[in-house]
Amino acid sequence: MTSTTRTEVPVPAGARASRPELPGGRYGLAGLVASEWTKVRSVRSTIWTLVVTLVLGIGLGAIATATTAARWSRMSVVGRLTFDPTRTSLTGLLFAQLAIGILGVLVVSAEYGTGTIRATFAATPRRPLVIAAKALVFGAVALVVGEVVSFVAFFVGQSLLTGPVPRAALGDPGTLRAVVGGGLYLLVLGVLALGIATIVRHTAGAISAFVGVLLVLPIIVTALPSSIGNSIGKFLPANIGVVLLSVQPQANSFSPWAGLLLLCGYAVAALVVGTVLVVRRDA
């Protein structure tokens, strides 16, 4: 052992000679929620996806309503009769859903992509708790942002409808339901995206799957014979979204609340499958 030389090193500052006592109890959901909140706040992608959600949701709604108002005198009678001022002002939510979904995906996939997930699971080995904390924190953010987008888009849109164009007020039948429903739609869809990400783990794959469900499935269903398409179409998340945002009832669809319940079912199913896989797989 002639090659070994050892130097005595001083004990670094802050180190203790004896092991500290462990506190009682056990780590749990409260600490995990605080941790997830720190994670969400400490990366720029959160701010960007939320800004995009707001801009798309409010901006595109405003453009759609302003366009309709400008064209009103040239619109057909059918067009005027079926005009739904609430739904038109909430049009932007159908684009904002992509941005909030991407945030839902990133909450999970960014941890896998960067390897942070191993630090997380080492700190808190009960993985279902981790997924639950992520869903809770993301859900709270998505709910607040979703309702803000929906209400602001509604009020901005109605303010742009002037002259002979009919306007909606929150007190009108079904209107408050549509505006509140718009925010809930963004929340549930975002949680669905988070659930997909726990299954897929990779950012690109999860976003593709999410966009596929929202945008590609409806195209496929449209291509089917209408007898089949009409009975399948109402199960699609995008279709449920349109129903939720509309004051007027839609053909070949579930009622707004039944649709929302079904959408919740999808989100919960994705979360459950994802959690089972996350527990089984090596991190």
Partner: protein
Amino acid sequence: MIEARGLTKRYGAKVAVDKLSFDVRPGVVTGFLGPNGSGKSTTMRMIMGLDSPDEGSVTVNGRPYHELPWPLREVGALLEAKAIHPGRSARAHLRMLAQTNGIASGRVDEVLEMVGLAAVARQRAGKFSLGMGQRLGIAAALLGDPGVLLFDEPVNGLDPDGIRWIRNLLRSLASEGRTVLVSSHLMSEMALTADYVVVIGRGRLIAASAIGELTAQSARRFVRVRSPQIAELRAVLDGEGATTVLEDDGSLSVQGLDEVAIGEAAAAVPVVLHELAPQSASLEEAFMDLTEESVEFHGDGRPRAVTAPEAGR
């Protein structure tokens, strides 16, 4: 204290870790040695509960990892460099870990100070060098002031200053009574740091012993002899049952007889001796001997050639 019993992990048909049993004791630095691909990282991930073993079990402080009430306060680990979101600051990274285990936020600043990252704590970790990333990983390991620490290849990519810093840190952590397991594929690095080594190859345990015993047991132990009557001496030693090799420099390498027996045999003839020097293998050679059979990837597709003993010169 870490106790592994019959730990086995398969990836398809390939057995990455094969019935591995070993103990890692507190108060000393235990080196975890093996060639690249020998299953060190997989074993460490199984200790941490990140990968689940196909057979066998491993406990930390007597419990399976997932049963620890406050994992970060009992076990700290550096498993991979820069496993951190590039957009998150060092401080936020540690803070989110601290919150999960109810660790006060003051401790975050404390460990950042200890590893020398206090000045860059609020910078995005994506800008960090490999060495800074390693320091951040070590800060995370120290966060809960744990009694058990695991470091997977901590010196990889570090400059000499960083290597010396980690070496001293590991030794001081052990001297405080902590359990320290540090993996490396470099025996020479372990020679400077570890007191005890667990050597694996192809997922199997090859040796687990104090570092001094490892070199003593090595087949490379021999005695170098020089004499003006070398041919005569060689015949005598061969007669005594020794294995002798005449080296290019004129010296005789003797295995099978120790220096006492050789000296007495020479005196009995008598033969004049100019040198009688016991040689032990270097740790590097001892490690080579142990893992020769189990090296996963050879540069030339053949087992490593055994080099002439050069130890202790």
